[in-house]
Assembly symmetry: C2
Homo-oligomer: 528 residues x 2
């Protein structure tokens, strides 16, 4: 193709300013929105899904889950579960099928403050939302291209960055505050960072059940007073109650039991690793992760029938050359999508990890691995595609630059998920006739201006300039451009959604390990 | 997640050398192979496809195609086509439907020499192959991060590079030899570069019909003597016989007519651009491109019933802020996949352009845009995903580094296309039971070693090392690593598949604008 062919000199006649004004006037539909319908990608056949389901049930009947807690047995044994000869907790087929049939089909996580309503997320059917999370122990220092230990202050910084990124609909615990070793101080400061930094719906995990109670006080502070949180829960929490293969993990199981008792969503994550803590066959890993996840669904529903659980099958891949986790492979992409298909097979609210690239820097590998894993998770209809924003290095690290890149890329992916509306109007047979017969250009046709905002997403970071312009501007790559944009936000946006008065009360009551000084715009920590 | 959780210290016990030996011994199945079955991603519903089909037929009945050649009219008017009041060639509904019903459902493009058989590509059903192509007028100079004019020698270099890249199954005319302005000299040298540089199946375009005859002589040289080419055609050719919206382009229409007369595959490409040379609505662009492509299918079949045509709907996207072509957007990804779905709706051998990133350098944008567009084209079941290897800058440039990156990324994508085999054996219920009850690790289980080559693709370029190792090795990105690998091949692999004797005869007979000196390994053009 020649440059001439592809770069018509006629312009659409509407500059960005005009479009922005028109959009602000409320007249123009958006091209993407939160909660679009996925499900167009289906790696498994109906027969495959039935076989995986049958396999999972067989595992729960025969093999069961090891190391159940006595307090759990007290609840579930009288209700029909049993112990097998290996001391493992087993679940009858009929019980599991009844529980699936009666389980909550949806839940809502509410936004707070000015985001209320529009920012709520509705986990049901094939609706697709995107969330950051990942509990990375390191943070990427982009100037030196090295990873340093993550801090609690990073958590606040990542959260306020996400607060400004439209396509990340839910905010999670992206990093671990490695500078706060005390579990109670850590969890309270983590909750504080999230609630102070954004009013988007939140997800996180607790290190122990004992921290739930105090956290509920903080939730109430953020929601507007005592008891306010439970009326419109804006935070869901969980963790991995299963240590694969097929054993319970004490702390997260306790958190799940307590959340169920409170009637809150159990936002778990079950993450067996193919070839390491699950079979090396992808089908075997699927059968196991479905069994493990169904066991959690059963427990919550035995404690409190109908209490919502995220069907959170998060199967991971092992690079069998080294035994290491690999987050960005084709195997990961197809396995995660298949896991979501199982969640939708059961019609249960679900989530999955995607975007967990093995790349250590935002490069072509990063883009390929994130594009495939996030794109296919979304197209398979995951209610929540988690681990999306900023994660790098096989979940070991998070990056501010990566967060803004992923936000824009999710916009592209949402446009794909939206698909193509086919109607008499969009088929445009008359417009085609007119433009073909009376040789004009479609650019000048009124339809083009009418649909240019509703049909297309326009990137800000992704470069579409001609190569000569790109060279003249310094031959920059997306990583370099993302540095600038992420720092602009980090220099500018220092929210504290608690408000000053509540903040004082909170700091008196809880050991918040983020100083007020570091939350002031003039603190000098970031330079644009 | 902690480092400890994700990096088990136990190793699978089989190093790369052992695996390679086992594979060479023939005992191990491969994880990916050419021609896998796509079709798992379906952006359009059945109703959508029927409406697009109806719309396309209406366009052909009412609007027709402008500027038909007299020699074309002599053929098609007596067979039932007609001219409308605007002097445009129209096709009756029943004729198009009959032609679709009777059209060739498949074709084979043969490999030559030692690749015969295994390297052939079978375009039918949902089989998926990957091809480079793109006719880029510039080539990326990775040392200086600038684009320079492409040369005929680049064409030889790109071809011999592709010859060494397993996941690019067909080789096409990646660049234009801008140093060879004469059309005859250009086309003959182009054919020479492709046939000398690889024995993979080939696709290319001619600048005029007059060059087909002489090229056939070159094809025979490569295939082993006079008349040998037509017995097992190893090259398909075409171009864009349509200038959108809905007009014929003289030169490529003439090539299509002549190819049909010879009984050869018409490997066309129909590329309207949404909002510029087609409606701004994606559905309208689809209706138009289907109409344009069906008109070509009709013409070929009216000339020679049953002669194979590629259903090559290549709809492109315009960035309506500037009017420029944009190859990497979400809109492009979903539109191309929908176009392929239409080809599979008709059960016609098809192709599409994908991987046409707007990025000017292999960066995160590059990966996201290529991953989504190539991945979804493959999953929608395109027989040939074209423009895959090396293209950058909205098709303006090609890059040696990008070619090796895309080759490896296609391996990931093929793994996704393959999907997940669900059987009693792969479900591994007994293995799961054994490993759960007798707490061992799956890494040590015999099944793991048995399937580690058949279930997983192991990248060579994509980095999976721990971050500390990555930093110690210089914090390189994939672009830097791809430089090294591409240059190793370019320094080492200088094939001339014609053989010395034929080469002498060819150079006497044709104006080959690639010197023999430049095809010698010791020419010093490339340094590792």
């Amino acid at each position: 193709m020649t440059e001439q062919n592809r770069r018509p000199s006629r312009r659409a006649g509407a500059g960005r300013k005009a479009r922005t004004e028109k959009r602000l006037a409320g007249g123009i539909a958006q091209a993407i929105w939160p909660g679009m319908q996925g499900g167009q990608y289906r790696p498994l056949s109906d027969t495959d899904m039935k076989r995986i389901h049958d396999g999972a049930l067989e595992i729960l009947v025969t093999t069961g889950i090891g190391e159940p807690l006595p307090e759990l047995l007290d609840i579930v044994l009288p209700l029909g579960c049993s112990m097998n000869e290996y001391g493992r907790l087993c679940f009858p087929k009929v019980m599991i099928e009844d529980i699936i049939a009666g389980a909550a089909r949806e839940y809502t996580v509410y936004a707070r403050g000015s985001r209320q309503g529009q920012g709520d997320i509705y986990c049901n059917g094939n609706r697709v939302y995107f969330s950051n999370s990942g509990s990375a122990v390191t943070t990427f220092d982009s100037d030196n291209k090295r990873y340093r230990a993550s801090t609690m202050l990073d958590m606040y910084d990542f959260t306020r960055l996400v607060d400004r990124l439209d396509n990340i609909h839910m905010c999670g615990d992206t990093v671990v505050g490695t500078d706060v070793p005390n579990d109670y101080e850590h969890d309270m400061s983590m909750v504080y960072a999230l609630l102070a930094g954004t009013e988007k719906p939140l997800c996180l995990s607790f290190r122990s059940r004992g921290n739930i109670g105090p956290a509920m006080e903080l939730f109430d502070f953020a929601s507007g007073g005592e008891g306010a949180f439970l009326k419109k829960p804006s935070v869901i929490f969980g963790g991995c109650p299963i240590v694969s293969p097929l054993r319970f993990g004490r702390e997260n199981l306790e958190v799940m039991i307590d959340a169920a008792r409170l009637g809150l969503v159990s936002d778990i994550a079950v993450a067996p690793q193919s070839g390491a803590t699950a079979p090396a066959t992808l089908a075997g890993t699927l059968a196991q992760v479905v069994a493990e996840t169904l066991s959690c669904l059963a427990i919550v529903n035995l404690i409190r029938p109908g209490c919502p659980v995220t069907f959170a099958t998060w199967p991971f891949i092992t690079d069998l050359r080294t035994g290491s986790f690999s987050g960005g492979s084709g195997e990961q992409a197809v396995l995660a999508a298949a896991a979501i298909q199982m969640g939708n097979y059961y019609d249960l609210p679900n989530s999955v990890g995607a975007g967990m690239t093995d790349a250590k820097i935002p490069d072509a590998q990063y883009g390929y691995e994130k594009g495939l894993t996030i794109g296919l998770a979304a197209l398979s209809g995951a209610n929540r595609v988690c681990e999306v924003g900023g994660m790098m290095g096989s979940l070991m690290g998070c990056s501010f630059e990566s967060m803004v890149i992923d936000n824009e890329a999710v916009g592209m992916i949402q446009r794909v998920v939206r698909g193509i509306e086919v109607s008499d109007e969009t088929l445009s047979i008359e417009t085609i006739h007119h433009c073909a017969v009376d040789p004009g250009h479609f650019l000048g046709n009124p339809q083009t201006l009418n649909v240019m905002e509703s049909e297309y997403v326009y990137p800000e970071l992704m470069d579409r300039s001609p190569s000569a312009q790109w060279e003249a501007e310094g031959s920059q790559d997306l990583f370099e451009r993302s540095k600038k944009v992420s720092r602009e936000i980090l220099c500018d946006h220092y929210p504290n959604y608690f408000g000053r008065q509540a903040d004082v009360a909170i700091r008196e009551r809880f050991p918040i390990k983020i100083s007020s000084d570091d939350m002031r715009p003039d603190n000098g920590r970031w330079r644009a």
